[in-house]
């Protein structure tokens, strides 16, 4: 009996997917578990494994086309089998038979796109009253974006009305955007761009950001790096050093390695540092796990692996979600200093500027040329108070300027 291949939710937030590439063609034999095609989701390109063995009888969704989760993309069965009925069948009733994504795809423990731990989860599971759901639907508001004020965080009418009032302010900005005239290019917003837009807006609107700046003399680290790299088979990037020393500083300041959870603050038991990596069509933050317990070489190895996957769009959700702290560096782009937007669920992000030689007045009033780097720490004030953020950042500076202190 021929089986339908349906678009699966390959990440918990995925609603539609685009076939990036078919790896099998019609008539090919497939085993259950074989890779059938690559699907571009809202965040990454995922592999689609065949749920059944047989012959790929029909490709319904061509490369480059998109389909909603649950839609038919192809059919697997015995050669010569009559599949007309399956193709003609309305898709609705077939949906319940479709393999549940939870079964075929080990869902990451936490939702990768969760803007913060307080988000309730997948669409159907947002606690809400029937009236709130109806009003949200009528007004085109996504329930997931609303924080509930009812019993156990249930979204109620008042919450939806508040969200509507918030939206009413937004159209002003929309209206200000000029209608495209000839010569303008209208670029449709991709799924990934939508996620980036939503997450960053949520972070910036909900987390009260403040910024701390220091200048760090990088001469010692740079000298050491040159010496070590000259002798080592594996070269270590400056990013790996930054991650390592940030992890050391976070170990000393656990209050910075934490998350706002509405009625509680979660202090993470592990230091997982994300590094913002630019992609052609956006950016992503692959995460080096457990940095506090890894050596420089191990961090470097993880980093190279992740960056390569990031550039080829091959990161899995568990490789880019739930950083407890994030580093973003625009130094290689020639930026002196900048401020970054916090990447939830973390509560702080370190913005790293370029290293350049500057005259620095020394304690004895002499002037020396030093290799200076500017660091800007964005903190969520709900979690990290000014003095706490300041203690962390000045400690990080001390560690970078006198790396031997990391042994203390």
């Amino acid at each position: 009996m021929a089986e339908k291949l349906l678009m699966l939710a390959l990440s918990p937030t995925m609603e539609t997917g685009v076939i990036a590439k078919w790896l099998k063609k019609e008539g090919d034999t497939v085993e259950s578990g074989d890779l059938l095609c690559e699907v571009e989701t809202d965040k990454a390109t995922m592999d689609y494994e065949s749920p059944a063995s047989g012959t790929l009888l029909k490709i319904v969704l061509e490369e480059g086309s998109s389909a909603a989760v649950g839609d038919l993309i192809g059919i697997v069965g015995k050669p010569g089998e009559d599949i007309k009925a399956l193709l003609a069948e309305p898709e609705e009733p077939a949906k319940p038979e479709s393999p549940k994504p939870e079964k075929t795809q080990p869902a990451p423990e936490k939702q990768p796109d969760a803007p913060s731990p307080e988000t309730t989860g997948e669409k159907g599971r947002v606690r809400s009253s029937p009236l709130a759901r109806k009003l949200a639907e009528m007004n085109g508001i996504e329930l997931e974006t609303i924080k509930g004020s009812g019993p156990e965080g249930r979204v109620v009418k008042a919450d939806v009305e508040k969200a509507m009032a918030g939206q009413a302010a937004a159209p002003a900005a929309k209206a200000a955007a000029p209608a495209p005239v000839s010569g303008d290019t209208v670029i449709p917003v991709s799924g990934k761009r939508k996620v980036i837009a939503r997450r960053l807006s949520e972070s910036k609107y909900s987390a009260p950001h403040y910024y701390l700046k220091v200048r760090v003399a990088m001469d010692t680290i740079l000298d050491a790096r040159i010496k070590l790299n000259a002798k080592a088979s594996q070269k270590v990037s400056l990013n790996a050093y930054l991650i390592k020393f940030a992890a050391e500083a976070l170990k000393r300041h656990p209050a910075v390695n934490a998350s706002w959870a509405g009625d509680s603050i979660i202090r993470f038991g592990r230091v997982d540092i994300g590094l913002a990596v630019a992609q052609e069509d956006g950016l992503i933050t692959p995460v080096v796990r457990d940095c506090a317990n890894k050596g420089l070489l191990e961090i470097e190895k993880d980093l190279q692996d992740l960056i390569q996957k990031a550039r080829s769009n091959a990161l899995k959700p568990e490789e880019y979600s739930d950083a407890t702290f994030t580093i973003s560096s625009l130094g290689s782009f020639g930026i002196e200093e900048f401020t970054a937007i916090i990447n939830p669920p973390g509560s702080a992000i370190l913005a790293v500027g370029e290293i350049r030689k500057e005259p620095v007045v020394q304690p004895d009033d002499s002037i020396q040329v030093k290799q200076m780097m500017r660091l800007t720490l964005s903190c969520d004030h709900r979690v990290i108070d000014g003095a706490v953020g300041a203690a962390f950042l000045t400690d990080l500076r001390t560690l970078l300027e006198e790396p031997i202190r990391a042994l203390y």
């Binding site: 009253s129 009236l131 709130a132 109806k134 009003l135 009528m138 109620v156 009418k157």
Partner: protein, 465 residues
């Protein structure tokens, strides 16, 4: 009674607002005291809701004699001794008042017998000069029956609701001024015990605060039972002659009638008990009607002084007072609570037969205010149970938002209306939509099926009509 200590909360008045506030405060770990000049339980329990329900229950018993006769049972009501009826109502009130004392003790609330004569932040002075110290004061002094000009209460000929509850002997005839809940409940009671009842209402219908359709069903039933209704009519004056009272009535066209009765019951609303407490001196702001002005959580204009129940401008109902008491206590204890009660989700209940119950918007208000609404009505007789128990007169009306389906108001007149209303109120509070009730299986046969049907009717698909 150790009054040297400083309480966290001192509540003035142990009615359904005050005793609930004190108990909730104590439950939340606060040291609470409640000052009461009379018996715990307030008007509601001692001279209001509870004894009147005891009378209504007995009125129902005597009304059931007619049903017995249909079965061939000859029951003789000639031996009726109203004194015994009244005593039973007192017994119910006394029992429950002792219950309140027990609850206060159980929750370690200090009950202070005394009358508050002055209030200021941090302290309440009693009539005997004692001072009760409390970091917070909750005013819960309740209300008293309103007097009408020319009809001063003497509780012999001209009665307040208190006097009516204390009657040991039935009058032959009674004129009731005001047809709110208290007026129609006494009309029902007295009529059941064979008193000739004249019910006078200044507005153009009885139970004027209820939905017109509910009011009409009740009026029809009352007329059938021989209660004389005078709507759009004012009582001008009264004079005693030959041991009777002659009451001069005038309708809206200026036509005058004189009705001769034994007694008059004035049930024309209630006034807040806010005088004699030194509130103005304390800086507590009152409005023109003598009600205390409050902000969120029942806070008055003076920090540390709260007001709840009949002395604030929310409906003068025991259950409203209780909820306001909880909110004030929770706020004092630093708990998260709602700043104000939702006026659209307060049940009103009138215990005449047929009963009337409602909450939220009624049709007249919706039309007057131009609020978009969809109306669904289902008659009691469509629910088989109502016919089986010989209570087919009644209806359920629901107003919903035409777009979202939100329940805006519900109105029931008929048997058990005061119990039935809560399913709809729960739906309102939980923000359920009509289809949630329309698709919920209701037991058959029940009166509650009429709620299922009225919700089906919202989408135009009732089955049993």
């Amino acid at each position: 009674m150790d009054l040297k200590q400083t309480f966290d909360v001192v509540v003035i008045g142990a009615g359904p607002g005050g005793y609930v506030a004190a108990i909730r405060a104590a439950q939340l770990g606060l040291k609470a005291a409640v000052i009461e000049k009379d018996k715990p339980g307030g008007v509601c329990l001692n001279i209001g809701c509870i004894p009147s329900k005891a009378l209504i229950h007995q009125a129902e018993l005597i009304r059931s004699i007619a049903g017995l006769a249909e079965m061939g049972i000859k029951a003789d009501s000639a031996g009726l001794d109203y004194r015994k009826v009244q005593q039973k109502s007192r017994a119910a009130a006394d029992k429950l008042s002792r219950g309140i004392q027990y609850l206060l003790e159980k929750n370690k609330v200090t009950l202070i017998a005394g009358e508050a004569v002055s209030v200021k932040p941090g302290a309440v002075t009693l009539k005997d000069g004692q001072i009760v110290k409390g970091r917070n004061v909750i005013l819960a002094t309740g209300s008293s029956p309103r007097e009408l000009k020319g009809f001063a209460f003497d509780e012999k000929r001209i009665l307040s609701s208190t006097g009516a509850l204390m009657l040991q002997k039935l009058p032959e005839s009674l004129l009731i001024l005001g047809s709110g809940a208290i007026g129609v409940e006494f009309a029902h009671i007295m009529n059941a015990f064979g008193v000739t009842v004249h019910l006078v209402e200044m507005l153009d219908r009885i139970l004027p605060l209820e939905d017109d359709d509910c009011s009409d069903v009740l009026a029809k039933s009352f007329k059938k039972r021989g209660i004389k209704l005078y709507t759009a009519t004012k009582a001008m004056s009264q004079q005693e002659s030959d041991g009777k009272l002659q009451v001069l009535l005038e309708d809206k066209d200026g036509k005058q009638t004189t009705v001769t009765v034994d007694q008059v019951l004035v049930s024309a609303g209630r006034v807040p008990n806010t005088a004699g407490l030194g509130l103005a001196e304390a800086g507590v702001t009152l409005d023109g009607g003598g009600f205390v002005e409050i902000g969120d959580y029942g806070q008055t204009s003076v920090p540390g002084i709260y007001a709840i129940g009949d002395i604030v401008r929310t409906p003068l109902l025991a259950h409203v007072a209780s909820r306001e008491g909880e909110i004030a206590a929770e706020h004092i204890a630093g708990r998260k609570t709602e700043p104000r009660i939702d006026l659209m989700a307060i049940p009103a209940a009138t215990y005449c037969e047929p009963q009337v119950a409602s909450f939220g918007l009624n049709e007249r208000q919706a039309l007057e205010k131009g609020i978009a609404h969809k109306k669904a009505v289902f008659p009691y007789r469509g629910a088989g149970k109502s016919v089986a128990i010989e209570q087919p007169d009644g209806l359920v009306k629901v107003l919903t938002d035409p777009k979202s389906g939100e329940i805006l108001g519900a109105h029931i007149v008929g048997a058990e209306a005061t119990e039935l209303i809560h399913e709809l109120l729960l739906a309102k509070k939980a923000e359920l939509l009509p289809e949630d009730i329309a698709t919920m299986i209701h037991a058959h046969p029940t009166l509650s099926e009429s709620l299922l049907e009225v919700m089906r009717s919202v989408d135009g698909l009732p089955v049993h009509i």
